[in-house]
Assembly symmetry: C2
Homo-oligomer: 148 residues x 2
C-alpha cells in the first residue's frame, strides 16, 4: 500500500497525461483541455497560423477547432514515443483527428504531433506543441490522405 506516496515513472506519467488530454478532446471539454497546458505555451498547429502564443490564444484556437464540424470527435493516437527526465520530457506520436457522423461515416486526417512538457509544482504541463501534416513540394497541397 503506497497510496499517495507512489510517484509514477516520468514516462508513465507522460503516457497518462497524453491519454487524459485525448479524452478531454474527445469530450470537446475546452476547460479540461486548457488545463493540460502551461501559461507560456507556444503552439505550432496544423492549421491557420504560424504559431499561437500563450494559454489564451491556444485555448481560443482549440475552441475554434472544436466548433468547426459536427458529429462525434475522432481523436486517436498511435506510436507514442516518450523521452523523459526528472522535470522535462518530450513525446511524439501520430494522431487521427476528425469527425464521425450519425451513419458512422468518418472524415479524419493523420497528423504528426510533438509535445514538450515541463513538470511544475508536481504537474506535467505542455509548454510546446507542434502538430502538422506534410505538404507536396510541387502542388503545395497539404497531404491529408496519408496513412501510417
Amino acid at each position: 500500500m503506497h497510496g499517495g506516496l507512489f510517484t509514477p515513472r516520468p514516462e508513465d506519467a507522460i503516457h497518462a497525461r497524453i491519454e487524459g488530454w485525448c479524452e478531454a478532446v474527445r469530450a470537446r471539454d475546452v476547460e479540461s483541455i486548457a488545463a493540460y497546458y502551461a501559461p507560456g505555451i507556444l503552439a505550432f498547429d496544423a492549421v491557420s497560423s504560424l504559431r499561437f502564443e500563450g494559454l489564451d490564444a491556444n485555448t481560443q484556437h482549440w475552441r475554434d477547432c472544436l466548433a468547426s464540424g459536427e458529429g462525434e470527435m475522432i481523436f486517436e493516437v498511435r506510436d507514442i514515443a516518450v523521452t523523459a527526465g526528472v522535470d522535462l520530457a518530450f513525446a511524439h506520436f501520430l494522431n487521427r483527428s476528425g469527425r464521425r457522423d450519425g451513419d458512422g461515416w468518418e472524415d479524419a486526417v493523420w497528423l504528426r504531433v510533438t509535445l514538450g512538457y515541463r513538470k511544475h509544482l508536481g504537474q506535467w504541463l505542455i509548454v510546446h506543441e507542434h502538430v502538422s501534416v506534410p505538404f507536396d513540394l510541387d502542388s503545395h497541397e497539404a497531404l491529408i490522405d496519408l496513412h501510417p
Copy 2:
C-alpha cells in the same frame, strides 16, 4: 583557464548545436548534417511523407532536399527557445529555408521547427525532428507565404 574541463550549460550547448547544424545545411554538407542526428532519429518533415525513420532514411531525405533547387542556400533561424536538462532537451524556432539565385532573388518559406535532443557519450544528438508549415482548412493548401 579552464580549457577542456569547461562544460557549457545545456542551453548554451543546444544553441551551439543548432548553429552548427544550420551552417552544415547552408554548406550543403550532408555528412556534417547527418552527424547531428542519433541513429534512431524519427523525423516528421515538412514535405513528402508522414515520417522518416532512422538515420539512413533521414540522411537520404536531406540529400534529396538539398539536390532540389539551385543557388545559394537560405537557412536562417529566429526565436529559438530551448528547454534543457542534464541529458535531454528540446528546442523550437522559426526557420526561413530556401534558395538565393545569382541576381539576389530569394525563394524561401518560413517553417516551424521542433528538435528533441538526447546527450549520448557527451554529445547532444537529435533524436526527434518536426518541421512544418500550417495549411488552410478550407483550400487544403500549404501556407507557404506566412511571415513572423
